[in-house]
Amino acid sequence: MLKSLSYSFKEGVKQLFRSKVMTLVSLISISAMLLILGLFFFLSVNVNYMSGKIQDEFNTIEVFLEDEVSEANAQTIAKSLANMPEIANIEYISKEQGLEEFKQSWGDNGYLLNGLLENPLPNSLRITLQDLSGGDLVAEVCRTTPGVETVRYYQTEVNKILTVTGAIQKGALIIIAFLIVVSVVVVSNTVKLTVMAREEEIKIMKYVGATNWFVRGPLLTEGVLMGGISALIAFAISNLIYGRICGAFSDQALMLFNMQLVEPAFLMSSLIWIFMSLGISIGAFGSLISMRRFLKV
């Protein structure tokens, strides 16, 4: 068993080097496939991440209170609202606290607000929702509560954004699935060319009494090695590209919109496994399919 494995490995490697052009073509095509696949993976993961953040950020309702409402009264309103099952958390934000947060959200440019003579913000309640579906109801109740001046809730906007991100994700998934199928076809065709070039060879092997696995072994190894090497190539390039993209996004202008990407280290550690398992299964699967009909001698 061990001997057959080492035989398959040695023969597979030898063959990779003997048919250099074939190997190169296969490596390039599989890596290219994986690379494109990886880009859609980046897109999908980041869109997912952003839509999560948008949901987190916008599942709050801001309830601005009339100036006459004292803090004690505000707490009473908060208590009565807190009974609603749609509400996860409710917090009283004084106008001073509100201004401070506002300054912080402007970051380095916060000093611009120092020029204000008077705090323009009212006292408010910040309601965190259990989930977005209860938002409408809670907003409505708040509007009719005495002492409430205005209610700020971005439901329609959030829904629009979520529809768009959902569509992007679905599209990315479809494209990824499509690319996987395409790469299996590409690999099985390249391996088929190798196998066809060796049709005679395989026949001869069978004449000498080689078992099917003895013939398959080296070719399978070849496919798996090609898949694995391509995965590494694609990974190296993706790593580079994603690093660049993240670099571009950490630009100040974009920071202000709170557009952050998923940490490269985190994304890459899952990407290497995805590429490896995909590359290897594409290689193995591709070579097995292409061999099927040649083994019936």
Binding site: K3, S4, Y7, R18, E200, E201, K203, I204, M205, K206, Y207, V208, G209, A210, T211, F214, V297
Partner: protein
Amino acid sequence: MIRFEHVTKDYDGKRALDDVTVDIADGEFVFIVGPSGAGKSTFIKLITKEIEPDEGKIFIDEKDITKFSQRQIPGLRRNIGMVFQDFRLLPNKTVFENVAFAMEVVHYTRRTIERQVPQALVLMGIPDKADMFPDSLAGGEQQRVAIARAIINNPKLLIADEPTGNLDPSTALEIMRLIDQINKRGTTVVMVTHAKDIVDRMDKRVITIQDGKVVGDQKGGYGRHA
């Protein structure tokens, strides 16, 4: 060694072998002759289970191979050395690797392989060609490599389908001498040929096939029926 009992083989309704019954003993040397399309190669392919008969039984070494499963075929072929008109060497393996391949298939150790392959090459008269690739060899030399590969695992049976078909007469004669030597060491030989002079000269058992039927089976001499 080989026994055909009422074997019939059709290709898409066209009869290639018709009720053939033949018995070949251990250690025999048998020529199979007959006109083109008579069914000689069909006879050979049935022995190696490359094709299946439509009727009848085929025994190799007293075992009915028509009952063999797909998985038993490699085992069967390992005990049969095969030589063909077109040599059938692996083009991207050296002479040494081609012969060694037949041993690797049966999982011999590297050490055994490195000892036995050179011996076989010496026996075939081509010890100096070990590192060459088949297409740089002359036809006769390629056939010697093929024979070395066929006998490297000491098969009980050597099958040759027109092994001299692509060779000039004097080279053909040398190849025949080698095959005869192999037979003298105890290997049963079944050889298909069109070469009348060789058959006449060798004076062995000759089975003549015509239109899928055995029409002659006697000692020595070609062509009394063909």
